[in-house]
């Protein structure tokens, strides 16, 4: 993967993101992936003059994740999307859609958790 990867933890993620903002980085997006059975890996992608930097954080899905939408307002859509797709909670989300950004109440399964495989439609 191109770019430098810095590992962060739940405790210092907001501080690290703040540091990136003060350095003049632009938040591109987050990416998520399944990490083990009940873990979630989050990559924060930053960009400064076409140079990419990533922050990597691994969390458990049942504990709330500190939100960085207070630092970068643009993070709010991504965090709501992650909330939809993985059913995790964010602490201090600026505008919380409460799992309804994309999904309607009819969809009860958690879309992206790997052990919930999608079945071909009948």
């Amino acid at each position: 993967m191109i770019g430098k990867v810095i590992d962060v933890t739940v405790d210092n993620v907001v501080g690290e993101v703040m540091k990136m903002k003060n350095d003049g980085h632009r938040l591109v997006t987050f990416s998520t992936y399944q990490e083990g059975e009940d873990g979630l890996g989050i990559l924060y992608h930053f960009d400064k003059e076409l140079e990419t930097t990533h922050l990597r954080m691994t969390v458990k899905r049942d504990a709330p994740i500190p939100s960085v939408s207070g630092v970068y307002f643009a993070a709010l859509l991504v965090e709501n999307e992650i909330r939809d797709q993985w059913d995790v909670k964010f602490d201090g989300l600026v505008l919380d859609f409460n799992r309804s950004l994309y999904l309607d109440p009819e969809v009860t399964q958690v879309p992206l958790v790997s052990n919930v495989k999608i079945e071909p439609k009948k």
């Binding site: 079945e119 071909p120 439609k121 009948k122």
Partner: protein, 151 residues
């Protein structure tokens, strides 16, 4: 006011409209239009059904049927390109609208010498590991159910 020259030009020129249903334009030769099969050339190897991104083709080797759901087909031409006997073709005109959903079912001669067919199948099957085979089985079910519903 700056648009006036364009307006005047358009008034003096012939209309740009293609009078479609009355005059049909010459189709471009490699347009990916209606998919059809030359069933006599088909060896029922099932490559098209595995390669199809939309999973809309179903091949039954024992029965000798080739079934395609033209409503789910995305006209990408992958099946045509991967067909080993080049029996799948695409017309250069689009498929005509229909008032109800139909399935394309083509009945052909299933391959008689079983050994030869198996040999054609074997290298493909070797590529696919256990998991995709399962996926294929899974998708075969709903497709048949769909067909039954149509009938």
């Amino acid at each position: 006011m700056l648009f006036t020259p364009t307006v005047i030009k358009n008034l003096l020129k012939k209309p740009a409209t293609r009078l479609y249903p009355f005059t049909v334009r010459e189709p471009f030769p490699n347009y990916r239009g209606e998919l059809y099969i030359d069933i006599d050339g088909c060896i029922f190897c099932g490559t098209c059904s595995r390669k199809c991104p939309s999973q809309c083709i179903e091949v039954d080797k024992n029965e000798g049927t080739w079934t395609c759901n033209p409503h789910a087909c995305v006209y990408c031409g992958i099946c045509r390109d991967s067909c080993p006997t080049k029996c799948l073709h695409m017309k250069d005109v689009h498929r005509k609208p229909m008032t109800e959903r139909i399935m394309m079912v083509e009945k052909g001669e299933p391959p008689k010498p079983k050994k030869k067919a198996a040999a054609a199948e074997a290298p493909k099957a070797a590529d696919k590991k256990a998991e995709p085979a399962k996926a294929d089985d899974k998708k075969a079910e709903p497709a048949t159910a769909d067909k039954a519903k149509k009938k």
